[in-house]
Structure formats: C-alpha cells, structure tokens
Assembly symmetry: C2
Homo-oligomer: 233 residues x 2
C-alpha cells in the first residue's frame, strides 16, 4: 500500500482551525508518513487501530493529533485524597506537627500535579522552537515511545524520545527502544539537579534551546492558560 | 524432587538470631515449601536462581528472608534533587512565592519518602498480628506478586497480595495474577480516603485488624527505629 500524502494533508487542513494549528499540518502528514513506513509504532488503546492508508483512519488520527495539541497542560486539580497514615509517618519520622502536616498535604498534592505536567510542557517548548526547523512533534499520544521525528538528508527517519529526568522511565519503557534507532535525550539529572541542554543530539543543536528558554516558555504558557481559565469563569 | 522441610528449618534456625526472628522460622519453611509447589513464583534478580531443593539455595533464601526482616523501613533520606522547574510551575499555577516553594520542595521530598515506606509498614503490621495465626509473610522480596500465604484446611495454598491503595499498582503488575488464585486486598481508597478494613478476605478476619491498630503500630515501629538510630549516632 502506498501512503497518500495529499490525502493526509487535506484532512489535516480540514481539522486545523487557527493559524497556529495550521503550522502543524506538515508535521501531521510527516508523522503519518513515518507510521506508514513503521506501522509497529502506531499505538492505539481502542479495539480497532486506525489505518494511515485510508480516509477514515487519517480523520481519526488528525482529530487525536489536534485534540492533543489543544488540550491544556495547566496542572490538574488533585483527584485523590491524601492518605492519613502519611501524616503519621511525617510526624514521627521528621517531627512535623499535625497542623504543619495539614498544610503539607495540600502543597504535596500541588507539587505532584505540577510535576506531572512538566514532561508535556517540555515537549511543547521543544515543538515551539523546532517546528519551523524540520522537526515534527508526535502530538496526540499515538506514536509509541517517540516524541519527535525528522528526516535525515538521505531520506531515512530520525526518531527521538524526550524525558524530563534521567530517572523518569522504567526498564520496560526503555526496552521498546532496543533494536530500534530511537535516540533519547533527557533534560535533567535527578541526583544533581543539573540540566542537560549541553548534550542535545546534534540534530537539535543550533536553535538556542536552553534552560532559561524553557523557564520563560513555561511561565508564558501557564500565564496564558490561567488568563484563559479566568476569562471562561 | 521432594522438598526437604527439615533441611529448610535447620537452615532457618541457623540464620535467625533473636527470639523474635526465631518466631519466623515456620514462615520461612512454609514459604519455601510453597515455592517448591509453585516454582514460577520465585523471583530473583541475579543470574542464577537459588533452588529450594538444596542446601545452598535454601541458605541464600534464608539470608535474603531474614535480611529483609531486619532492614529498617524508617523513611529514607531523599536521594534526588528537586527539579527547579516544578517550583516555577507552582508559582505561576498556584501562586506560591519563591520562599514558600523552597520550603515546599523539602516537605514534598519528605512526603514522598514517607509515602514510599507505607506499603512495607502495612506488611509489617499484618505480619505482627497474623504470624501466630497461620499466615506466613513472604518477606525478603523473592516471592513474585504474593505477600502472605497460608494453608487451607484441605492442604491447598491461599496466596494473598496486599496493596496500600486501590491505585498503587499498574496494569502490568496486576496481570501476573491472571489465571492464578491470588487474592488481593488494599487498605485505602484513593478517591475518598476511606479505609477498607471491613473488607478483609474472610481468612484474615477475626484478628481485630483495623486502622487504629495500624496507626498505633506505625507510631511504635518508627519511634523504636528512631531511638535505635539516635543511639547509634
């Protein structure tokens, strides 16, 4: 079967709404083209995997791709209730008072929610810089173990996986890379807190990606999301 | 091959030191007997799995069993450095000040360390009550997906897995139970904070296991560990 790039593009054009979204049309078609070459990397939770070789499948994927892009990565509101025994441990082991523990419980939940959105924000930052430089973001969570792809000069694919920390994946999720040419980059070292921007893969160098740029991006993104939320209230 | 109960017992007798440890000798031999009936549940990280059918293997397992029992479950000192971007998210999303974030970082690490030891403390509490009531603790981390076993009246085994919360395992760790008769019990509901002591499996009922007993046990265990640590300094 041959991949129909024009069909993918038309479908993406019909799905993208804003000017900003329209600048992702090329990335969507490239991601689908990659999946047509490497079908085992299509990850799908539902019963029937969509196909990149027909209209119906491409429509489903385009919807998921742009929905993923539109989804807010503002930290969620905690959905779980703190376990009271943790406060008991905190009091006996570290000497916190009951009153301190009540405050710590909430702040700890906020910390977890904040941590949980960092990985997604990192991908958004990289996309914001790399989109116009030949990299394509695998947005929408349907490409397995790969976050960005680009084409090498010889036409082969260069897939890249991004992690926020050197300890943010377990052995089973790293196993999927065995035998595949997926490169990996992580942003920070859990033991030292140092960042790893000096060690970007060569193909991502030269675009001034750095920690201060990431911090600025995070501030701006969350500020905008917050304004948008307050506006909606 | 036949399992040599007397050999396992002698080896455990040579490994156990204190009176308290000696009361675990029966449990160790029963756990090894269970593994001789169900060898696929022996979990081992090293190259060569020890065998429950010979002297050498039983010695290795006894060492691991009693080492696991002696290991302290006092919360560890954080080994990782907080990710600074989390504080940025906390400031913008929840309005914390930079100063507050510095304190929250440490308390959040303490909270994580406290959370991490709760599962082990729960097993210790259950063992402290159930050990003299026909249950055997699978201490030492070499029995896969099973925390306690007992013999039914008809001689068959009743394996049990314990979790602290209804959300503390992922789908791959629950998959190991498929097709096996392992029962599961969890202590608390993550969405409501309620505990689940009213729903203990029938074979664990009647021993007054309850939340207040667990809280008392945790306080006492950590107090003793703390005293012991201060004494060693």
């Amino acid at each position: 079967m041959e991949f129909n790039q024009a069909m993918a593009q038309t479908i993406a054009e019909n799905t993208a709404i804003t000017e900003d979204e329209r600048s992702l049309i090329v990335s969507f078609t490239e991601v689908c083209c990659f999946l047509s070459d490497n079908p085992i990397f299509l990850s799908w939770r539902g019963k029937k995997k969509p196909s990149v070789f027909n209209d119906e499948g491409l429509n489903i994927l385009a919807q998921k791709y742009f929905d993923g892009y539109r989804k807010s990565d503002f930290p969620a509101i905690p959905q779980t209730v703190p376990d009271e025994i943790v406060s008991v441990v905190m009091q006996v082991a570290y000497g916190y008072s009951e009153e301190q523990c009540n405050q710590i419980k909430l702040e700890h939940q906020h910390s977890m929610c904040a941590e949980n959105c960092v990985g997604a924000l990192l991908e958004r930052y990289l996309d914001s810089v790399l989109r116009s430089n030949g990299w394509h973001w695998c947005c929408g969570n349907f490409v397995k173990a790969i976050d960005f792809i680009r084409r090498n000069d010889d036409g082969t694919w260069l897939p890249l996986q991004i992690k926020n920390r050197d300890n943010s994946e377990n052995s089973s999720s790293s196993a999927i890379r065995n035998g595949t040419p997926i490169q990996k980059w992580f942003r920070s070292f859990s033991k030292t807190g140092k960042t790893n921007w000096d060690n970007l893969p060569p193909s991502m160098q030269g675009y001034s990606l750095n920690e201060q740029g990431f911090i600025n991006f995070v501030r701006q993104y969350l500020d905008e999301e917050k304004r948008h939320r307050n506006y909606q209230k």
